[in-house]
């Protein structure tokens, strides 16, 4: 009897939890088809207008473009710098190791409000004008720690004998790195970059502290939340969701095929 309860309990709780997780996403999607005017609070009637005209609400697309730009620039910088640190930390000896570790872990253990507030204090002190540049700097800082942690795990699991073998075969250190190490690290680096882009694109709290009057997509939604969010925001949110889903599924299919190929050959 007890065992039977256990057998059913997990799928029931787990299934309910999945519904809980997906309800708001479904809601966003459904309301992207609502002819609800500016506020989009109540269901009126089905329309495709929002999807046909995603830039119809002023400022939605502008903020989206800003977020995409910031996400790209911050991701590239954070991935390059973070990968450098990750490789350096695992492969090379140097002093102040403990201090470096603290410097990397601490941003992860600091709530976003504090990261945002401390950077704001810094920018106020320097007299820098808040906007595009200060947002990029802020995003690089918090994305970099995630890149370091992700890539470092990959570097540590790498067999360093592969590089030694390359050196034995007269590869220069640079050639050994680019021909052997880098291709093996690439999946980890790509995962870190995707994570970093997603975090930058979705960030509100840190951005809110360091953006001044500059609008990003999350900020636009937060600011318009009191008046009601235009349905075009739901269209963009849903479209981003579908694109990301396709990217993930394609990635899964490719890696699955590669695995099969390797097994068959």
């Amino acid at each position: 009897m007890k065992q039977k309860i256990g057998r059913w309990l997990i799928p029931v709780i787990g299934g309910a939890a999945f519904i809980y997780l997906l309800v708001p996403i479904a809601y966003i999607f459904v309301f992207s088809f609502n002819d609800g005017g500016r506020a989009n609070l109540q269901w009126q009637r089905f329309t495709l207008d929002n999807w046909m005209n995603p830039c119809g609400a002023p400022a939605v697309c502008q903020s989206l473009v800003h977020s995409l730009q910031i996400g790209t620039v911050a991701t590239v910088i954070a991935t390059v710098l973070g990968t450098g640190i990750a490789i350096g930390l695992v492969r090379y000896k140097f002093r102040f190791r403990k201090l470096t570790d603290v410097l990397i872990i601490l941003p992860l253990a600091t709530p976003e409000v504090v990261l945002g507030a401390s950077l704001l204090a810094q920018f106020l002190n320097l007299g820098w004008e808040l906007g595009y540049g200060t947002i990029v700097i802020a995003h690089v800082v918090f994305c970099m720690s995630f890149v370091i942690v992700t890539v470092r795990a990959r570097v540590s699991s790498l067999d360093s004998r592969l590089e030694e073998a390359a050196a034995d075969l007269y590869a220069s250190p640079a050639a050994a790195f680019w021909k052997v190490t880098f291709p093996l690290l690439l999946p980890g680096i790509i995962a870190a970059a995707l994570l970093s882009f997603a975090m930058s694109f979705d960030d509100f709290i840190i951005t809110n502290f360091n953006s001044g009057a500059f609008q990003t997509f999350p900020k636009f939604i937060y600011v318009s939340a009191t008046r009601g969010i235009p349905a075009q925001a739901n269209v963009i949110g849903s479209a981003m969701f579908i694109v990301a889903l396709l990217v993930v599924v394609t990635g899964q299919v490719i890696s699955y095929r590669k695995k099969r190929q390797l097994e068959n050959s």
Binding site: K2, G6, L9, I10, I13, G14, G15, A17, F18, Y20, L21, L22, V23, P24, I25, I28, L41, Q42, G82, G84, I85, G88, L89, Y92, K93, F94, L103, P107, A109, T110, P111, V113, V114, A117, S118, L120, A121, Q122, L124, A138, V141, M144, P173, A198, D202, F204, I205, P218, I221, Y222, A225, I229, A233, N234, G237, M240, F241, A244, L245, Q252
Partner: protein, 300 residues
């Protein structure tokens, strides 16, 4: 006593190698030092600024006014405590909901690759859609004129003049919702490596399912639970999007909202900086105690 047996060439190669290492690490560390470590020091300094007599709004001079801390703490200790309390409840709820989810996907569906793959994608799906848009969606789903509130009122679970939004319940539900994937994914990663033959063996030795769970499943997934609770608690304690959108009244104000409004609405930089610093230090202390108490080497 050890003798260095390496040749000159080898020593030179070693030196060159270390130079590459420094070249790789320095730019990133410089960014962290200039835009993380230094700002925290400046935040600390700013928290001690004082207001000269007759100063305008937003005008402060560097100083050592420790009374700033007493002032903001005596005014905002309820919000600070509430932040930790809400974060704690959400973390426990996320663990109670998240563990069965992770177990379902990682262990129960191990043989069913397709279903497992689909659920895994659904598990990371929230990361693909905007956090604020989803929180706003909750606000509309739970709104007074919404379907959920109306149904609950109809079956008299909710009094006719009751609300779902603007309550601590809504804020905690929002926090739990938003950080749930951060709880599930680390646990999933650990349970994925759980050898189910151990459970069969313990069953064969007449262990009850509860004993097997307590002696095998739980210890094996401990690093994931540990990481998940930290990844949920820390951001939840500092969050103010949920309390602003789903709460937004005196019973639900969290410390992040106070910091935000002292910076931008009241223009009290020292007060806001002092509260930020208190929040950071309290979280670091709590996390350190937690790691000392429950963490072992392999967890780090």
């Amino acid at each position: 006593m050890s003798v260095d047996l390496r040749s000159k060439d080898e020593l030179r190669a070693e030196k060159r190698k270390n130079r590459t290492g420094i070249f790789l690490i320095t730019p990133g560390l410089l960014v962290l030092a200039l835009f993380f470590a230094l700002p925290v020091v400046i935040l600390l300094a700013m928290s001690l600024y004082s207001k000269p007599p007759g100063a305008e709004v937003g005008e402060f001079v560097p100083g050592l006014q420790f009374s700033n801390y007493a002032t903001v703490l005596s005014a905002y200790w309820p919000e600070l405590l509430r932040s930790f309390w809400f974060a704690l409840i959400s973390t426990v709820l996320a663990l109670l909901i998240g563990f069965p989810m992770a177990y379902l996907v990682a262990v129960r569906l191990r043989e069913k690759t397709l279903l497992q793959g689909i659920l895994l994608v659904l598990l990371i799906a929230p990361f693909f859609s905007s956090f604020i848009l989803r929180t706003q969606a909750w606000k509309q789903i739970l709104a007074d004129e919404g379907f959920v509130a109306q149904t609950l009122k109809f079956i008299a679970i909710l009094p006719a003049d009751g609300h779902l939004t603007a309550t601590p319940f809504a804020v905690v539900a929002g926090l739990t919702y938003n950080f749930l994937p951060f709880m599930v994914l680390p646990i999933y990663a650990n349970l994925g490596r759980l050898d189910t033959r151990l459970l069969e063996a313990s069953g064969d030795l007449y262990a009850s399912p509860i004993t097997s769970f307590a002696k095998i499943t739980l210890p094996m997934s401990a690093p994931g639970v540990f990481a998940g609770t930290l990844l949920t608690f820390i951001p939840a304690a500092g969050d103010y999007v949920n309390s602003a959108l789903l709460g937004n009244n005196r019973d639900t104000t969290m410390i992040g909202q106070v910091i935000d409004s002292r910076f931008f609405k009241i223009i009290d930089y020292p007060g806001a900086a002092a509260l930020s610093f208190v929040l950071m230090v309290s979280i670091l202390i709590l996390v350190t105690i937690y790691i000392r108490r429950f963490g072992t080497e392999e967890l780090m």
